[in-house]
């Protein structure tokens, strides 16, 4: 309709003004490819047309002085004065072209050519059509120096760790996460709809980030969301269906093998076998099908055999893990713009299900986004943006850290069913299916108003008001579960097994509740967050003599953050399927808590950019910050930065090289100091005393307690972060070969670290002070190549590589304990023994022990045990005092920092087919599964997880499981830690290379008839985590973490995703 109107208007115009000039022409890109559907607008009129399928257009203009504005998505807009030509060939240059490319920087944009800091902007193509659950996942590996890591597998709703340029701070009370700003306002990158993102800019170095001062000492991620672009209204839909499979699920041994292995382990440790001959017979009979059930009552007792007393054969991972699960995502957006107004509206839904058979977990995300920009007049532009995000994660309350722990160590001899048809308590199935559910919702409303006034050309005044209101409702419920005893009577079972039942209010206001068997429980909480910020700033661009270009920026930023969590719980619920809090005085276990906190921050900033002839560039940033987190006299701090660049290719002496294709080469350097105010506590310098309900009964009821205050420091102040960096950027061969290299050093001074130890006489951990320092050094390399072969085939290859190392340069550690921090410690280092080998028999072991006394590690050594090396030659193998001066026979055997993070992307397009392959990897990472039963099989009497991988342990000839003494990987199984000491033998190589994303798309050619109505139609197949290359045993390299220290590897599995999707734009 609109098009007809416009045509009509054009006709009317031609009637009204007969002196029309008809011109024709074509629009092509810089490689000569025609651009269909490009928009041509006659400036100052309503006349608009678009190019046809062959990139041709025709229209009438009022005069030869008319100016045509030509635009096409992904290309630099171009304005052309018609002049005397009647036929025009308009060449548009791709926006991606390095020279013209602009990048988003703090409070503005900058042409990449003039950039003096380490900033990288990427478009939304890295997020498009990927079956990811959040934007963070999509950013992994896309930018060198932006480290996104995950050790925790793929739990629904889980978030990955992000840091820019490595570890910034080691204090538990401070954090070194980057600042995430969405359209200039602090926001949540893990909940934003990835489809709404136009581009993401990462300010990696201190000089670029310093405009944000104390909120951004460890880098900034700037997210710019989409807005309506000039042209007709377009409606687009994208959607995909996903199939997800668990990766690297361990393969437990069968029940009989398990019992034999356990017996071996106990006997090897000087203990008694746990499984008697008759018990083994029972297991064998069960496995041969001679007995129907893996448990029975104890003789003359009304009690079922449980856990290791059973005689079944169960693969618990098989029981609990689905073969695959499904998810889907839909996204609709409407956008458009004209001279006066631009708009973008979108809606998104994503629904995920989990990998566990009986858990019925779900994660849903819904977002609504509306952004409208109005050009009131020549001087005033106003944008309003509202974004509503809602996520919901629903799962069984029993599915917490201990569930993964128990799943990892569940005895194969335990069994799923009782002879009476009930599920056993070992199966954990009743607690998952009936034990009650935990539901976490997030609701975020972002409102942003942005007023820009430009009273004089190039002088702008910006006023931004930002508000984020969050509600995070949370409910958790426990319902009674149980089973029937052999005599048919009912017995209640606890939902959370193996934990002390209790109802405790923690100091952070959360409730630690492990309900008693048969007890109901309902907890309801809400965390509301009110964040408000203002940015008021002005900038002015001016150029003298066409060579001296200046940019000025001056402004203030204020931030206010308030968080409130209200929580209440009862064990008195009327209806378990529809729980609500009763309106009465409550039961004896009713609990309430409230936590409140707020902080505010005020920043004043100024920036000056100077560029001479695009050759020499310099930038100076000044920022002063005041933070409510520090005592009055330490509150304000001033953080300056400076950076400079030299565009060598612009020099006359470079002319010859430039003509040869080396047309862009820039070196740059920067220095900055920033502060860090990101302490966990909002009130770190206050004495804190607070009552709470105790685990204590006095006077016949639960007693309230008032604990002693924890030590606090009254002279806390800023951590100061000093950044130095140099870099080089290039663009050669018509910008087909581009790249950059950066080297940096970041020193975190006056770190609010874990305080230095005090002797125990003090009676508490020492209060935190600004007493430590660490240094991170690293480098980053990005290289890209893009080209076109012939008319139909284009391709690009890009790669990133980055590395960093962190060293503690100052730390007050009088004993130099190697398990804690000390001066000179490399972050992530692993101390361990060196292993000579596995003793083939007792005689060899005894001979070894004669001059390598291993009694400090353990007792009862024999054949099949590890022979550790005596590195300090004192005749005994020990850990000394575990200090840097006396570390016995320990040495640094590796480092668990993920190093040499790299990625490469291959993209190719041939006519209507496109493909994208994205590999991501870690080049070097050591990992030790300290005290991990899932790695060693058994590390303590009750910490045992025997998988088929563990079968490769030392056995003499004659062992029922077969001899394995020549080249076993594992030493003989033991229930103590003799053979599972941290050592080089079992140090794992956790590096990997992963095919993170593979995408093949089929687009509807624009030349077809349908192309008249459809701007874009693409059908794609996309897969995540398709292949992994790693030397790591048993585990997936991204699922080696643990929940609540139950041992590495006890976490949600990582998954592989296959998806099919469509993208349609009308």
């Amino acid at each position: 309709m609109k098009r007809y109107l416009i045509t009509l208007l054009c006709c009317l115009a031609s009637f009204a003004l007969p002196a029309q000039i008809k011109i024709t022409g074509s629009v092509v890109d810089d490689t000569g490819e025609t651009l269909p559907m490009a928009t041509i607008r006659v400036q100052g009129t309503q006349v608009v047309t678009t190019t046809d399928m062959n990139g041709k257009f025709s229209l009438e203009v009022p005069s030869t002085k008319s100016v045509l504005n030509v635009s096409y998505i992904g290309f630099e807009p171009k304005s052309i004065t018609v002049g005397n030509r009647l036929t025009l060939k308009i060449v548009l240059t791709s926006q991606a072209t390095q020279m013209k490319e602009t990048v988003v920087v703090g409070y503005g944009t900058q042409r990449k050519i003039n950039l003096t800091g380490a900033v990288k902007t990427i478009g939304n193509e890295v997020l498009e059509a990927r079956p990811i659950s959040n934007a963070v996942q999509g950013l992994q590996g896309t930018i060198a120096g932006l480290n996104i890591t995950n050790d925790m597998g793929g739990e629904l709703g889980s978030e990955m760790n992000i840091n820019i340029r490595g570890v910034g701070s080691i204090g538990e009370g401070s954090n070194s996460s980057p600042l995430v700003l969405i359209d200039g306002m602090e926001g949540d990158l893990s909940t934003i709809n990835p489809n709404d993102i136009e581009n993401i800019s990462v300010l990696k170095d201190g000089a670029s980030a310093s405009i944000y001062g104390s909120r951004a000492p460890f880098g900034v991620i700037l997210v710019t969301t989409k807005k309506g672009t000039q042209g007709r209204t377009s409606v687009s839909y994208t959607g995909n269906l996903r199939l997800q499979q668990p990766m690297k699920v361990p393969e437990p041994v069968d029940g009989y093998t398990y019992a034999l292995m356990i017996n071996d382990a106990y006997m090897n440790t000087g203990g008694n076998p746990q499984y008697s001959a008759s018990h083994l017979d029972l297991i064998r009979s069960y496995m041969n099908g001679e007995i129907d059930y893996g448990t029975m009552p104890y003789e003359n007792q009304n009690e079922w055999r449980k856990n290791q007393g059973c005689f079944g054969n169960t693969n618990w991972y098989d029981v609990h893990m689905k073969d695959f699960t499904t998810s889907h995502e839909h996204n609709v957006s409407v956008s458009g713009a004209n001279d006066k107004i631009n708009y973008f509206f979108s809606g998104n839904y994503m629904g995920q299900t989990g990998l566990f058979e009986y858990a019925d977990e779900t994660f849903d995300r819904m977002t609504l986004n509306g952004k409208v920009g109005i050009q009131f007049n020549k001087y005033v532009h106003f944008t309003w943006n509202t974004r509503i995000i809602s996520t919901e994660n629903d799962k069984p309350s029993a599915m917490w850290a201990l569930f993964y722990h128990n799943l990892g160590r569940r005895y194969p001899v335990a069994t799923i069913y009782l002879p009476n048809g009930d599920y056993t308590s070992d199966s954990m199935i009743p607690s998952l299916t009936q034990g009650g559910r935990t539901n976490q919702k997030k609701r975020q409303i972002y409102n942003q108003a942005n007023l820009v006034i430009e009273p004089v050309k190039n002088w702008k005044l910006h006023a931004e008001l930002n508000s984020r209101i969050e509600d995070n409702p949370y409910t958790r419920q426990f319902n009674p579960i149980g089973w029937h005893l052999p005599d048919g009577s009912w017995e209640d079972l606890p939902v959370l097994e193996g934990v002390e039942n209790r109802h405790v209010i923690n100091s952070d206001g959360t409730f630690s509740v492990f309900p008693a068997a048969g007890e109901k429980y309902y907890e309801k909480a809400n965390t509301s967050i009110n964040y408000f910020s203002t940015n008021v700033y002005t900038d002015y661009d001016v150029k003298f003599n066409d060579k001296h270009a200046f940019k000025f920026l001056l402004g203030e930023q204020s931030e206010f953050f308030r968080r409130e969590t209200d929580r209440m719980a009862t064990t008195d619920i009327l209806l378990t399927d529809r729980p609500f809090l009763p309106s009465d005085r409550g039961d004896e276990n009713a609990m309430i808590s409230q936590r409140l906190g707020e902080w505010s921050n005020l920043g004043l900033f100024a920036r000056l950019n100077y560029s001479y002839d695009n050759r020499y560039m310099a930038e100076v940033n000044l920022r002063a910050d005041g933070a409510s987190r520090f005592p009055k006299d330490k509150r304000w701090a001033f953080f300056p930065s400076v950076s400079a660049g030299w565009n060598i290719a612009q020099e006359s002496f470079w002319k010859r090289l430039s003509d040869l294709g080396f047309e862009y080469l820039k070196v740059r350097g920067s220095y900055a100091t920033l502060g860090n105010q990101n302490t966990t506590s909002f009130y770190p310098y206050y004495q804190q005393m607070q009552t709470s309900p105790g685990s204590l009964v006095l006077g016949g009821q639960q007693a309230t307690v008032l604990p002693m205050y924890a030590p606090y420091s009254t002279n806390l102040t800023w951590e100061t972060i000093e950044n130095v960096g140099v870099g080089i950027d290039w663009g050669f061969l018509n910008n087909r070969l581009t790249g950059s290299f950066d080297w940096y050093q970041r020193t975190t001074k006056d770190m609010v670290g874990p305080a230095s130890a005090l002797s125990a006489l003090y009676g508490a951990s020492a209060p935190k002070t600004n007493n430590a320092e660490l240094r991170t050094r690293g480098w980053e390399l990005e290289i890209g190549w893009r080209d076109r072969i012939g008319k139909n085939f284009s391709y690009s290859i890009s790669a990133t590589l980055g590395d960093y190392r962190t060293e503690i340069t100052k730390y007050d550690s009088p004993d130099g304990n190697i398990n804690s921090w000390y001066k000179g410690k490399n972050y992530g280092e692993i101390w361990g023994f060196e292993v000579e080998g596995i003793a083939q028999n007792d005689a060899q072991m005894y001979a070894w022990l004669a001059d390598h006394n291993q009694s400090s590690i353990g007792n009862l050594w024999g054949g099949g045990d590890i022979m550790y090396r005596d590195l300090n030659g004192d005749g005994s193998v020990d850990k000394g005092s575990q200090t840097i001066d006396d570390h016995g026979d320990l040495r640094v055997i590796g480092n668990m920092t993920p190093r040499f993070a790299y990625s490469f992307t291959l993209e190719a397009k041939w006519k209507w087919i496109d493909a994208r392959v994205f590999f991501q990897g870690i080049g070097k990472r050591d990992f030790f599964f300290t005290n991990s039963a899932t790695f060693f099989g058994i590390v303590a009497p009750w910490q045992r997880s025997l998988y088929t991988d563990h079968l490769d342990y030392f056995r003499y000839a004659g062992n029922e499981l077969g001899a394995n003494y020549e080249h076993p990987y594992y030493a003989r199984l033991r229930t103590d830690t003799n053979n599972s000491q941290v050592s080089d033998r079992y140090l794992q190589d956790a590096s990997y290379l992963r095919l993170k994303n593979l995408q093949i798309g089929f687009s509807l050619p624009k030349t077809t008839k349908l192309g008249r109505y459809v701007q874009k139609a693409r059908l794609y197949f996309s897969a995540e985590n398709l292949f992994t290359f790693t030397n790591l045993r048993i585990f997936d390299p991204e699922a080696i973490g643990d929940f609540e220290n139950w041992g590495p590897g006890k976490t949600y599995p990582q998954y592989r995703t296959y998806s099919m999707g469509v993208e349609l734009t009308f």
Partner: protein, 639 residues
């Protein structure tokens, strides 16, 4: 002039702006208070001391607690080896896992000093009785925790003020006070407590005056006997061998001499225990104190107990004890109990029926045995009627010697003492029966022992107290008959000896009374240490019941194979240490004397010695190395 006005206006605006900035940045805490907010009401004082109650012993929700603490002694036997009792595996530990911990001192010193100061300044409410009471509780708790340090380390630094976070000051205060001075500090705190505390606790479960007196008697007797039996060794000050001798060679006791110091503590123990014993009679029902869901009245034998409530704090003894518990009594303990006629089992006319079946073994025995230990083949309660287990004779009751871990009957003498016959109590580890932690009976026992140690006769109130104990127990009150029939050579008890020398029959019978009265209450290891009885723990085999004469017939072959219990070729009694030939203590426990005291963690030496352990004002306990994770030097001369 106008320009000037503008300047003023600008200046004022700037000042206003800066002021409003400062107030924008001033954020006071919203959800917690500080010491100025609390300590105004009596209730605040109560809440503060409440937080320290968790240091008192209890029965645990997961396995363990008072009922199983004696597995680290010759009274009970656990499922694993006790590393304390043999050389090799016990090592120095990191400060986090060590008893070298002063967190309670920090909290209590702060409180005591603050309240004393506020009281003096008249800043506390008029309800002086309760103010005093809660202050008294704090003194009691501080003494309780210093007693813990004394038992573990002997000499410890005495700090009565809150320490600053300044290592130099901490180092200055790190000097270890001689153990007798630590004990004197404990008594001083308890004297204060006894003055301040109310006679009747303001609510159930709280400390009262008699609690302070009984703890005082316990601590005084502990110190007196320790100093007497370890006299002249590295473990006692005032002689050239004392561990701290380099700095304190000329140490002189406050009482004048080592022996006078012992007398001082004995006199203190006698006076304090007498005050408690005279004020409180013994409950008629011995067993009922340990397994009923009840609240003890103010004047009860039970002076202090821990209470439980479902969902707040509960324990698990009935759940575990129902199936074996992994903490059974030893044969040595069972043998110590007299017949009801007052004779030891070996006495010719005792009427002892032998131990072929523990059912017979338990006939006519001290009811404290038959009520506290379940006999194989005895009458036991398994039948459920209306939610309670009722008597149901199963002659061949089989202890669960064949089960695993904490469900295992380790010796076959399963514990009955803390077991409650209420079904709800037995299930799901949520028992709520009260746990007595201070009983007047102990005051009776302390008086006996202290008086005899002091005067070597049974004068004073000894006769009355001893008879009361035996009468309540249900055995012949005439202890002279027992003493006369006692043949120390036939006693199966480490406490027959002190310093490797046999004690006299009277003192031994006082010790026997203590062993029997306090069965499974977690006090035995302290007794063995202070009596220096562990010297005789050489090639010591804890034993269980007589399996191989008769009772093995109750079990299927697979329930008693060599992987489960020792076979008849080793002994007719179960020997838990000898099941596996590779066991580190296969040939029995051999207590290294270096283990009488715990080692101080290495970090403490380095922190107080500015990185050089030998520069520290601290000294290590005898035989222990100044290094991490190291065993004691077993050749170190502890005499």
């Amino acid at each position: 002039m106008k320009r000037y006005t503008i300047h003023i206006q600008v200046a004022v605006a700037l000042v206003l702006l800066m002021t409003s900035c400062e107030s924008f940045l001033e954020r006071e805490p919203l959800d917690f208070g500080d010491e100025t907010a609390y300590f105004k009401k009596v209730n605040d004082l109560k809440l503060y001391v409440n937080d320290r109650y968790s240091m008192l012993p209890k029965n645990n929700n997961l396995w363990g607690g008072l009922y199983s603490d004696d597995i680290q002694s010759d009274n009970q036997c656990g499922t694993s080896l006790q590393i304390l009792f043999y050389p090799g595996e016990k090592k120095t530990v990191q400060v986090g896992s060590s008893e070298w911990n002063f967190a309670n001192q920090r909290a209590l010193n702060y409180f005591i000093n603050l309240v004393v100061k506020k009281k003096a300044a008249g800043e506390l409410p008029q309800d002086t009785d309760l103010v005093n009471h809660y202050l008294g509780e704090a003194f009691f708790l501080r003494a309780y925790d210093y007693f813990r340090l004394l038992r573990n380390f002997g000499d410890v630094p005495i700090i009565l003020d809150q320490m600053p976070d300044d290592q130099a000051v901490l180092t200055q205060h790190s000097t270890r006070s001689p153990r007798n001075e630590v004990a004197r500090q404990i008594l001083a705190d308890l004297d204060q407590a006894a003055v301040l505390l109310k006679e009747k606790a303001p609510e159930s479960g709280r400390i009262c005056r008699d609690a302070a007196l009984l703890l005082k008697a316990r601590a005084a007797l502990y110190e007196a006997t320790w100093e007497r039996y370890h006299a002249g060794t590295v473990f006692v000050p005032g002689n050239a061998k004392w561990a701290a001798v380099s700095g304190n060679s000329g140490y002189s006791f406050p009482a004048g001499s080592a022996e006078a110091e012992v007398t001082f503590f004995l006199d203190q123990a006698i006076a304090a225990s007498e005050a408690v014993a005279d004020a409180r009679t013994l409950n008629a029902d011995y067993q009922g104190m340990f397994n009923a869901d009840q609240v003890f009245p103010d004047n009860d034998e039970v002076i202090l107990a821990r209470y439980y409530q479902t969902g707040v704090l509960s324990h698990s003894c009935s759940s575990y004890l129902e199936t074996g518990g992994g903490c059974n009594a030893t044969r040595a303990l069972v043998n110590s109990f007299l017949m009801t006629n007052g004779l030891p089992i070996y006495a010719p006319a005792s009427g002892y029926q032998g131990d072929k079946l523990s059912y017979y073994e338990f006939q006519d025995r001290d009811p404290r045995l038959t009520g506290s230990v379940r006999a194989a083949g005895s009458i036991i309660n398994t039948k459920l009627v209306d939610g309670r287990y009722v008597n149901d004779t199963i002659f061949y009751y089989k202890p669960n010697i064949y089960r695993f871990g904490n469900e295992k009957a380790t010796t076959g003498y399963e514990l009955q003492k803390w077991f409650c016959d209420d079904k709800v109590q037995c299930e799901n580890y949520q028992c709520t029966t009260a746990t007595p932690i201070l009983r007047a009976a102990e005051a009776y026992l302390i008086y006996l022992e202290a008086y005899y140690e002091r005067y070597h006769d049974l004068g004073g109130k000894c006769d009355a107290y001893w008879r009361s104990l035996r009468t309540r127990a249900g055995i012949n009150p005439d202890y002279t008959k027992t003493i006369a029939a006692t043949d120390l050579a036939q006693e199966n008890d480490l406490a027959v000896w002190s310093k490797g020398v046999e004690v006299d029959a009277t003192l031994y019978n006082i010790r026997r009374e203590r062993r029997c009265e306090l069965i499974a209450e977690g006090l035995r290891l302290d007794d063995l240490k202070r009596w220096r009885a562990l010297d005789m723990m050489t090639a010591y085999q804890p034993e269980g019941f007589n399996l191989w004469d008769e009772m093995y017939k109750m079990y299927k072959a697979s329930e008693r194979d060599e992987t489960i219990v020792t076979q008849s070729n080793i002994s007719k009694y179960i020997r838990p240490l000898q099941v596996s030939a590779t066991s580190a203590a296969y040939s029995g426990y051999n207590f290294p004397r270096q283990h009488y005291l715990e080692p101080i963690p290495i970090s403490e030496f380095l922190l107080t010695g500015e990185g050089v352990a030998k520069d520290s004002p601290l000294y290590q306990n005898p035989g222990w190395p100044q290094e991490a994770d190291g065993p004691a030097d077993y050749t170190f001369d502890c005499d």
